[in-house]
């Protein structure tokens, strides 16, 4: 009990930056707190009442003084704001090429998934020095995925995906907490993030009995649920192709364009009418709400991602136009 830390581990690339901002605010706060405490203390002693009949002289209000002691603190807070906003933007903007991992919160556990197929409960093994992007959701109520050592958290909300990223910089084991009250075992929804040397991480990947990869599981669902019968890769089906669409712009029926990210893919599976691709106005895709779990949705999304080659050009076209066959005709991507 006596061997307690007073400051959290700093184990991510952003932790140092967050701590620097923290210490700046501590310094400013300390300065003003000491100023105010000392000022009040000094006045309390120096101007203590000695004569019951003494009435202090009147004071003239001073507009300049008021403006000065409003504007100076305001500018200091603007510095805090700007610095904080920059860090905020960095923390919530995942870098390109980040390793993708997934988490699903549910009462009362965290289910994490690696793309290679490894699934963990309340644990997350990650390699040190790599950018890692978490795509997350929840099966029931709102939770929040919080790793204090990385100075990062993000709420997970039913019905949508939220993302956050981090780059672990120190090998070790760190707390993982749920930080949004979610019911009975909210304080039991905790675990560990294990940051490992790359070699150890590879060894862990190889050693753990992993089953099929997320994409393989997704492909299996894709077939079983009947998606393959419509979404054929050469655009001959009644539905738009899913080849080379991930993170590319998709023209919609109403004239807008959206980026086919994870959220769009998930929404299209659950609410196919929400954002219909241009040219498919008579589409008949049924909803799969209730037929596939959040885990399953992440797997299908992972599979669809594998259908996009890293440098592919957007390939969505209306069915009438004969889409030119892609130069490299491949089979189902793994």
């Amino acid at each position: 009990m006596w061997n307690f830390p007073l400051f959290p581990d700093a184990a991510s690339s952003m932790a140092g930056q967050v701590d620097a901002l923290y210490f700046f605010l501590v310094a400013v706060s300390l300065f003003f707190t000491v100023l105010i405490f000392a000022g009040c203390g000094y006045f309390a002693i120096k101007f203590k009442r000695v004569d019951e009949n003494f009435i202090p002289a009147g004071q003239k209000d001073n507009m300049v003084l008021e403006v000065v002691w409003s504007v100076i603190p305001f500018f200091i807070t603007l510095v805090m704001f700007a610095w904080g906003a920059v860090i905020f933007f960095r923390v919530y903007t995942p870098p390109e090429g980040a390793m993708e991992m997934y988490a699903v919160g549910k009462q009362w556990m965290w289910k994490t998934q690696h793309p290679e197929g490894h699934r963990e409960i309340n644990e997350l093994h990650v390699p040190v020095g790599r950018d890692i992007k978490m795509t997350m959701t929840t099966e029931d109520v709102i939770h929040s995925f919080f790793i204090p050592a990385f100075r990062v958290k993000k709420d997970v909300v039913p019905g949508k995906y939220t993302t956050m990223w981090f780059k672990p910089t120190k090998v070790g084991k760190y707390h993982l907490f749920c930080a949004e009250y979610c019911g009975n075992q909210h304080s039991g929804m905790i675990g560990s993030v294990h940051v490992m040397e790359p070699a150890d991480y590879e060894a862990w990947l190889a050693g753990v009995n992993r089953g099929e990869t997320m994409a393989q599981a997704g492909e299996r669902l894709f077939t079983r649920l009947g998606c393959a019968s419509c979404h054929q890769e050469d655009n001959k089906g009644r539905c738009p192709t899913l080849k080379d669409i991930y993170n590319k712009p998709v023209p919609l029926q109403n004239g807008q364009r959206v980026i086919a990210d994870e959220s769009y893919l998930r929404e299209s599976i659950l609410k196919p009418q929400a954002k219909i691709v241009a040219g498919y106005q008579n589409q008949e895709m049924p909803t799969f709400q209730g037929q596939v779990s959040e885990d399953g949705l992440l797997q299908i999304v992972a599979y669809i991602k594998t259908l996009t080659k890293p440098d592919a050009v957007a390939a969505v076209a209306a069915p009438a136009a004969a889409a030119p066959k892609p130069a490299t005709k491949g089979g189902n991507k793994k």
Binding site: K271, Q273, A274, T287
Partner: protein, 235 residues
């Protein structure tokens, strides 16, 4: 800011000078009382606007997210009936305003008549609402109870529309029922000739409340009934 000029000794314990009946003694004079009660009613209405505002805010957001479902659901509402109700409510605001006018003019007979007219029209509105609500129950349009919607794509938006339909018209109807209750009270007081040119504040404030409830409906009608009107029959 102007304050009321008043005589300092106006309200020592044993004053005997006359005040109009209905005068409340925390005030200095009937003018201050009328000013204060009117301001009080406007402040209360500001609060009501914020109350309904939350509903309108939610409606606006979901309508922009699910326009097709909302329009299809709205199309199912009975526009002629809603329009008739709108006319009834506007007419009741007219009779209410005329009741206030009668009070200001000291015409007790017409105060009573116009108030009763307002009550009758209000009850007609509520009667039509009951008819409409029963229709929704029959047609499986009650969310959380028996909601069914044929078009699977529109179903989520349609159900959300009806969630807001029932909540917004229900809240409005609740305010009308309260208004009807208040009207009964004012009818009783008017039958005792309580209101006259020196004391009509309560009727005027009742009028403000009634007009507010009317205005809420003026917003509800197009947002709920006319939203899907362009889709035509049989949609």
């Amino acid at each position: 800011m102007a304050t009321h000029a008043t005589t300092p000794n106006a309200h020592s314990d044993d004053h005997h000078h006359a005040h109009p009946p209905g005068f409340a003694h925390q005030f200095e004079d009937i003018g201050q009382q009328l000013d204060s009660t009117t301001l009080g009613m406007w402040v209360f209405l500001a609060q009501e606007i914020m109350f309904f505002g939350g509903l309108f805010c939610g409606y606006s957001i979901y309508r922009s997210l699910m326009p097709a479902g909302f329009e299809a659901a709205s199309n199912h509402l009975n526009v002629p009936l809603g329009f008739a109700n709108t006319v009834v409510l506007i007419a009741s605001s007219l009779t209410m305003a005329l009741a206030v006018r009668a009070a200001m003019l000291g015409d007790n007979k017409w105060v009573l008549r116009w108030l009763v007219g307002t009550l009758i029209l209000g009850c007609m509105f509520l009667g039509v609402k009951i008819i409409e609500y029963s229709d929704k129950f029959e047609h499986h349009l009650v969310p959380g109870y028996n909601f069914q919607w044929a078009n699977a794509a529109e179903a989520p938006g349609a159900q959300m529309f009806y969630v807001f339909y029932f909540t917004m018209t229900g809240m409005h109807a609740l305010h009308m029922v309260i208004g009807a209750g208040l009207l009964l009270y004012f009818i009783y007081k008017a039958s005792k000739n309580t209101y006259h040119p020196q004391y009509f504040g309560p009727i005027e404030n009742m009028g403000l409340y009634w007009h507010f409830v009317d205005i809420v409906w003026i917003f509800l009608f197009p947002l709920l009934y006319l939203l899907g009107y362009h889709l035509g029959k049989g949609h």
